[in-house]
């Protein structure tokens, strides 16, 4: 009995972590190129609603995932345009993107509230009430396995390939990268759109698997946690995954606490992930003494003509 409960907790942890991790990984890529995108919450939302709408109207899961990814990617290109081409402040642009994304997705999703999905993203092996870790892993769905692949692929890309090193170079020192012949604008634009696509994937996972329905304020701050995760993970894919697991665990734990006999107001317990994030963040920053691993150039727009 206890085993099943524990495995249930692990199961929920993995699912919550997958969602957070995919969004965080995308933002990691964006930030590695030197662009800060605070619009993650909005992009997840856009991916979530468009994926949901497509699923309701077509019943085609694959198409829904694709639409979710593409919509969020296109949406994030607005941010790319404003920050990379127009060189405007990245913090402000990202915030507007969140506000715009949330309001647009609320508007689009209005008619779909409460509707039932004809299909969901099913788990690969569909094991009812997994009893051990292996069964839990096999119970996950395609997106979970995809996220593991993306983690390994991204880590390899950044450290071992020319493409990844060049991406990092742009985020480290855009002027030096430019003088090496690297196209800073193109790199940053693409990295932002790719990051957006990842957030879209996370959004689709949210509405077609994790939750799965559509309502107002679906994302409930997960985008912000994803942002914190990037810092927490020191801009390294594997560390970010560990952070995602930690927060996934907290998110999974909260509704289960009462069943374990903890007499705490559910409202207060809901605060704990955020509080713990801050504490861990502060602890990490102190521990690292300011050398957090952030791309040195992040947030600073690139001008070739500056004199």
């Amino acid at each position: 009995m206890f085993d099943i409960q524990l495995m249930g907790l692990l199961n929920a942890t993995l699912q919550a972590a997958t969602l957070l991790f995919i969004a965080a990984l995308g933002e990691l890529i964006t930030e590695k190129s030197g662009i800060l995108n605070l619009g993650v919450e909005g992009m997840i939302s856009i991916g979530a609603v468009t994926g949901f709408m497509t699923a309701i109207n077509t019943g085609n899961i694959f198409l829904s995932v694709l639409v979710g990814i593409l919509s969020a990617s296109i949406f994030s290109s607005l941010h790319a345009f404003v920050t990379v081409i127009l060189k405007q402040d990245q913090t402000v642009s990202g915030l507007i993107l969140t506000i715009l994304g949330l309001s647009l997705s609320a508007l689009m999703g209005k008619k779909y509230v409460g509707k039932k999905l004809p299909v969901k993203i099913e788990s690969v092996f569909n094991i009812d009430e997994p009893k051990n870790i292996i069964e839990v892993f096999l119970n996950q769905n395609y997106i979970f396995y995809l996220s593991i692949f993306l983690m390994i692929f991204t880590a390899y890309l950044l450290k071992k390939t020319m493409f990844g090193r060049r991406l990092e170079a742009v985020g480290e020192d855009s002027k030096a990268a430019d003088s090496m012949g690297l196209n800073v604008n193109k790199t940053q634009f693409i990295a932002t759109c790719v990051g957006g696509g990842f957030s879209g994937l996370a959004g689709v996972y949210l509405t077609l698997s994790y939750v799965p329905y559509w309502t107002d304020n679906m994302t409930s701050g997960r985008g912000w946690i994803a942002l914190a995760l990037v810092i927490f993970g020191g801009w390294k894919p594997y560390r970010t995954a560990i952070g995602a697991l930690l927060f996934g665990f907290l998110e999974a734990l909260v509704p289960r606490l009462q069943t374990y006999g903890f007499e705490l107001s559910p409202y207060l317990v809901k605060i704990t992930p955020y509080a713990i994030t801050i504490i861990i963040l502060i602890g990490l920053t102190i521990y690292k003494g300011g050398r957090t691993g952030a791309p040195s150039n992040i947030g600073i727009p690139f001008f070739r003509e500056s004199r």
Partner: protein
């Protein structure tokens, strides 16, 4: 006769209302070392930035081997074989030497990096392992990597912008040998961009001279040109002033005793047992290559750095370990080498910057009276001939010379007791340099005790009464001005004493 490998015709470039280049023609012979001479602000960097594709000219064209080139950007310029080493290095600090040499798309040593690295680190006498991060290299070593970057990118045309500014006399000599090898044995075409006559004459075969954006001399044969010819071409009228060294020296105004300071990031003491004294009416020159403790010493004397052991005494008052405001109250002025970034705040208006020294003295009222601040600024403008039309404009819109005049004016107008001036004339044209030197000498004659920190040996010899040399945080040698010459000071700067 070598053929012309690169030619720029009729280049014109402006930045806002500043005309950097006007109808400039410039050409290079294959495998020769050329010199581009001109004062600071003459347009040398602008021309080079255009050749390397970083800037676009409004008018003009560029030709490679006789063929006109369409649109030039750094990527394309590199493909055509043009590469530039800038004064501020474009190396990625946290990345390794190997990364910096191979990340460029134009890298030709993709498969045989090791061989290439061995060959050229030999030519440059560089002994660092390729996995070393750039942040751990010395300035001289970083420059070698910068030049090697060009070679690795198959740049046969190498533009070097003021390369000797950061080198000791011995390193400069080594650079000369390396460049000659590259031009004679490795078929590289080299351009040395500088305002230093000595290097032009020793390094180059062909000289071009730029003055105020106009090319006033083309392809002069180096051996047939005299220093005076070049000076006349570069500057027009020479404002030479002879500094009399029979200034009266009075009481000791600044005493520094047994300063020991450790920089947080290393265990080697940054300053080790520094003691010196400066008297009223005296200029003490502090020689040394950048990074040997000058900035730290200046920060300690000015009160910015407070964690050290030792004594700092100004006008008899012991102010060790106390802060900036105490110094200001004792009328100690500090002109930092980082003009825009420390002395002046970027992104902040001219009028705000002018008040940095005295804002807290209620000089401008209990709150800040804009009128009083404006009066003060106008006083500085008239006294120091600063061209600053709009007080509310950002300070970085001023020219380099005017920024420095603003900075120095602000610091000198109170007739300070002690002045610390670090690299005060770096990057400025001859007229501005003369004007600033006059200011310094005037203050000396008014009785200030002055510490002049400079990498420019000519400047040090011209102004100082005594010269001390800082090497790796220690005073290794002291010279009275009569005993000092380029050689013994240069040796001391490199840490080599008899």
């Amino acid at each position: 006769m070598n053929h012309i490998i690169l030619e720029a015709k009729n280049i014109t470039k402006s930045f806002g209302s500043i005309h950097a280049l006007k109808n400039v023609d410039f050409y290079l012979y294959e495998s020769k070392i050329h010199g581009l001479l001109g004062e600071n602000g003459a347009g040398k960097s602008s021309l080079m930035n255009i050749l390397s594709g970083i800037y676009q000219p409004e008018v003009g064209s560029i030709h490679i081997n006789g063929n006109k080139v369409k649109k030039l950007n750094p990527d394309f310029a590199s493909k055509l074989g043009i590469g530039m080493v800038h004064q501020e290095f474009r190396l990625i600090n946290n990345f390794s030497i190997q990364d910096n040499l191979t990340l460029s798309k134009a890298n030709i040593y993709t498969d045989n990096f090791k061989e290439g690295y061995e060959k050229y680190s030999d030519i440059f006498s560089l002994s660092a392992d390729p996995s070393t991060p750039i942040s751990e290299l010395s300035v001289g070593e970083k420059q070698k990597i910068e030049i090697m970057k060009l070679i690795f990118n198959n740049n046969k045309i190498m533009l070097l912008d003021e390369p000797t500014a950061v080198l000791t006399p011995q390193e400069t000599n080594q650079l000369k040998i390396s460049l000659k090898k590259l031009s004679n044995e490795d078929n590289k075409t080299i351009v040395l961009i500088t305002h230093k006559l000595k290097e032009i004459q020793e390094f180059t075969e062909s000289i071009f001279v730029l003055k105020d954006g106009v090319m006033v001399a083309k392809d002069l044969e180096t051996k047939n040109v005299t220093k005076n010819d070049l000076i006349t071409l570069m500057m027009g009228e020479i404002k030479q002033s002879d500094i009399s060294k029979d200034n009266k020296k009075g009481t000791e105004k600044l005493i520094v005793e047994n300063i020991y300071f450790e920089n947080m990031h290393s265990n080697v003491p940054t300053l080790n047992n520094i003691s010196l004294k400066i008297r009223s009416g005296e200029i003490l020159g502090l020689a040394g290559v950048s990074g040997n403790g000058q900035v730290e010493l200046a920060n300690i004397i000015s009160g910015i750095e407070r964690q050290y052991t030792g004594q700092v005494i100004v006008n008899g008052k012991n102010i060790s370990n106390q802060g900036v405001k105490v110094r200001k109250n004792l009328n100690l002025s500090y002109i930092p080498e980082n003009r825009l970034g420390v002395g002046l705040a970027p992104g902040v208006s001219i009028i705000d910057n002018s008040a940095v020294k005295d804002y807290f003295k209620s000089k401008f009222g209990p709150h800040l009276s804009t009128n009083k601040m404006l009066d003060y600024l106008n006083l500085l403008i008239t006294q120091f001939s600063i061209k600053a039309p709009d007080p509310k404009a950002e300070v970085s819109t001023l020219s380099g010379g005017n920024m420095q005049k603003l900075l120095m004016g602000r610091e000198l107008i109170s007739n300070p007791e002690v002045i610390i001036a670090a690299q005060p004339t770096r990057g400025l044209d001859i007229n501005a340099v003369e004007a600033l030197h006059d200011l310094i000498v005037k203050q000396r004659n008014n009785g200030s005790a002055i510490m002049l920190i400079s990498e420019d040996l000519d400047e040090l010899f011209k102004l100082s009464d005594r010269i001390i040399v800082l090497y790796e945080g220690q005073i290794v040698k002291e010279f009275a001005i009569e005993e000092a010459d380029i050689e013994n000071v240069g040796l001391a700067m490199a840490g080599l004493n008899e």
